[in-house]
Symmetry: D2
Subunit: 337 residues, 4 copies
């Protein structure tokens, strides 16, 4: 049985577990003030080529989204997101539970653009609407697409000119940076938004996302917000040890994601070569294939994957590769379909 | 330098890390539906001698408190807590951030009683007050004391008769159960409240608390609440593996805590024998000692610990033991003070 | 200049002011426990032919929607509404500010149906979505349409079978009941939903909506919720005096709305006779006319009205009649366009 | 039966009703953009001797407190209040329902001081506490006392130096300004805090409080917040007409309150002359008298009033005078007790 269900199905990279084992006899203070967390922050700052940022290690994607979304918001403020944004339909109302409305824009491919944001934003002029104060985008998106540098720049410029914060959900930032289609790298990220996170859960850690705060406004009292939302781990040093391990070795952060992307590329090419159509452009380790009912049944006999919806009267099958996907698996799967 | 700062300063029990390593080649589904999580739940149900409960593994104490506090609450409902309750002063307004008011009762020793609750609860009769709907207690408490079985029974009976849920914060439940003063055991817990959790962070796990839901009302749609509050880890199987390891070995859950208690007992006795007074009765692995300014300075030269407040014009020094505290350390510390 | 802007542009019916004047020397207790409020409740119960309901007088539409939407809701619960629902786009995020997500369904004419609700509701099956717990509809709707008795019955039946509450926003319930198209009357309302309100602001009162609670679950502790949301007026007796005046005279509640409907009918007929198309079916005192840019300009020279959006490349002009709209005005306006 | 229950038991000043009647044939736009509201704002600005303020007319005290408390707040922020503050114990958790924690200080007489605030505020230094961002005081207080100009100045100076907003609940501001003990007047108020309101409900209006926003930060997007909290009345012009009437006649705002104070003075003097003790200093139209059980019974036979609590083993009886309390009533009551 081939396994293309998701990219968070393994405990993590062996190196991460080893790093934890190496520290088992230490006594560390709690709540992220330990030396591992501090060194990890330093290493990430170096990789991002920006010393003037704040970094926090949060337990997971939803909690990172909660902090990213609520930071710096007043009660009348709202968040602009693609209708397909993870915070809108996949987190059980987490943002609304914090009192904030998400104002949504329909998109073709999961991506917002300066144009889409501008046209939408200009409608918010009266007291009976919310006050948009932040734009949320995910990279890669929920449908595997990714933003180009110029697209991010245009969006961020619009945000800065219009009193909006830009927040990038980076649960799959490693998948974005590992893609051939990506024309920027780690060191560009802090110039392209106000706040974002580097996903760890989907990049070989046991858990944890590294939240990076660029904008001074959002830095203020953020620790209190992190504590309030239940997203500050008592043993913060465990996240610190993991992130330290990741960033103390050059290029280690993207290593697994690059492997996953390479396999995805082979897989996507093989699938389209056989005449299948993709629901969205292939750009990262998630491939969305249009299948009819019979094809779905056939595929399900040999592989595990999710059906995420429908398009053009066909089902959308999502295949996800990981650092553990092998070329052999992919080739055999391609033969069998 | 002796280290009595807290009981969450180590990565965890070596056995826990080994269990994770053993599973490193597996592919597990996410969000807690994996076989490890399922087996862990089964083992815990057996240990608690109750099949009719729901169990969820949450990242940490604050997040477990958020779920325990918000479950089953309407907007006009409030939570009764001791003024010293962790949710009141130590979680940065986490419960209020969910829209709920905490109604507080001052206590001598961090413990609520049926009498205290009743007298307080009876005042809530008008529309300009909140509607108390849940009682929050912590066990052990924030000042190291613990509830007797009869005390819990009385409180729970009052709750049941008065349409209140009883929620026990069990971040240090292992410390409570490991104490000589405790006259109940794991198997009694589901008869003594509606919802509680077994702390893992302070009982040798890397992270995670096991939330146990007894009351049918609170079980409904709880997964959605857990997801909403950002407290459902994508790699839920990691918590599953850890809890499975803990409960597949008889008495393993309390092993470390019993060691910690034993050391605390020697420590407390030694301290009081030297004429120091305790701020609260010694009942668990936290010892609160009254010190004057000079004594504080002297102690700080040889040991790390927290000052948690003042009482009777003296400082309160908190000493916490863990499963790694040795008899030698304790004896040497006692000699030096 | 003809005035078709809205139906809340006058202080109120003269009879209402007279009633207030008559009570100017009284001393009444506050917060709605006065004899006027009590008698008003009794009169409304009689008009609704249901003694087993609770009635509260709230300041306005938004506040009535807040209470109607939040009553009986847990934190993971959500509200199903038409995308055009007033609570979704016209109340500045009021429901989300209470922590609740609105799950929206696009509609043609502002009306939900059993079918629409069922198809939508059936998608909510996983923990990463909210738990729909209430359906919100408005009657008349935001586009002037109204529900038939059978439609309401079908929706309410679906709700009852599926553990959903049905809440009707009745800011324009008088306009609905006054319409020729309406096949039910005041006495039917409590059989058709769990909670609703009778609009007063748009039915001749200075302010105030009468919230009617049918479902026992929602009745519990509702006064506390009303107080909490800032919607309990200290001088509750003023609303009591107004509602008492309205319901102590037979048919007085609908008198003004019937006049408004009559004028709207003449107006709508005249407009369509002249070849204009309506954006939505004419069913109540709000008429939505499709106009091109030139027509808009022309009309704006002689009348005040709102442009509410676009449809089929035309602007939608909303004309609203009130109890003070005269036949002469309507006829002259029709002549001039 | 003498009536000393509260100061909001009458419909309002006859002049107010007359003003409404005079406007009964007008057609006004909604939501406070009408000419009456605009003129009322202008008149109030003149009375306050400050053109650079924003003014909004809200339905009542709780709603004004909700806006005053939530304006400009981020999610991690909290409000400092006296334990006796109205928002803490008398509004059913309204502030917490907006996600904000109230951090309370016990007081002798319902008044905060710079010293109390400073000592309390200095404790908030860690991430596990909230971030105090606003101070709430009420004037007159819940126990009838009032602030001196110097006291307000000291508090406000501390707030400005420490990044705190100062919000004054002015539900009984007229009572404060009408008192002999008050050493400031309307024109001083905008120099003494960031945001406050002039109570109307307890100063002869049918309803409505005039919220005055001084601080630029708090002015931003406040209309959206007002709409969101359900505190923007559709017929905003009704509040406009009432406030216009009040402020178009010199000294009219305080006229009724001065009468009430005069009567309270006679009453307080008469009571203390007979040997009764007051629970709090007499400073405004609320008098709090210490009574034993027998005295309570005796008084209740001849008068209506509230028992608000206990002090020194005696009950506290609250007597409130209004603009309709007559000297004859007071004298006869004094004779009978």
């Amino acid at each position: 049985m081939y396994f293309f269900v998701n990219d968070y199905n393994s405990v993590g990279y062996p190196e991460i577990l080893d790093a934890l084992k190496n520290c088992i006899d230490e006594k560390n203070p709690g709540y992220g003030i330990d030396s591992h967390s501090q060194r990890a922050c330093k290493l990430i700052k170096t990789a991002l080529e920006n010393e003037n940022i704040d970094i926090y290690f949060l337990p997971g994607g939803t909690s990172a989204n909660i902090i990213g979304a609520t930071a710096g918001m007043r009660q009348q403020d709202s968040i602009i997101s693609a209708k397909s944004g993870h915070i809108e339909g996949h987190e059980a109302g987490s943002i609304e539970a914090c009192g904030l409305k998400i104002e949504t824009i329909p998109t073709e491919d999961g991506k917002l653009s300066k144009e889409l944001i501008k046209n939408f934003h200009e409608q918010f002029k009266t007291e009976y609407m919310t006050v948009p104060k932040k734009v949320y985008i995910s990279n890669t998106t929920e449908v595997g697409t990714l933003y180009k540098k110029e697209e991010l720049k245009e969006i961020y410029d619009y945000c800065k000119e219009n009193n909006l914060y830009l927040f990038i959900d980076g649960a799959r930032m490693a998948a974005a940076l590992a893609s051939d289609k990506c024309d920027y790298s780690l060191k560009d990220l802090t110039k392209l938004c106000d706040i974002f996170y580097l996903g760890g859960t989907k990049a070989g850690l046991l858990f944890s996302e590294a939240l990076v705060v660029v904008n001074e406004d959002l830095k203020k009292d953020l620790k209190n917000l992190i504590k309030q939302k239940g997203t500050m781990l008592a043993k913060g040093f465990i996240a610190g040890i993991m992130w330290e391990r990741v960033f103390e070795e050059k290029d280690f952060y993207l290593k697994g994601s690059k492997k996953a992307y390479k396999m995805a590329k082979v897989l996507a090419k093989g699938i389209t070569n056989q005449g299948y159509n993709l629901a969205y452009p292939f750009e990262s380790n998630q491939i969305f294939v249009l299948l009819d009912e019979n094809q779905v049944k056939k595929w399900q006999k040999i592989a595990k994957f999710e059906i995420t919806g429908e398009k053009e009267s066909k089902k959308i099958a999502r295949l996800v590769t990981t650092f553990r996907t092998t070329e052999e698996e992919v080739k055999n799967f391609l033969k069998e379909i």
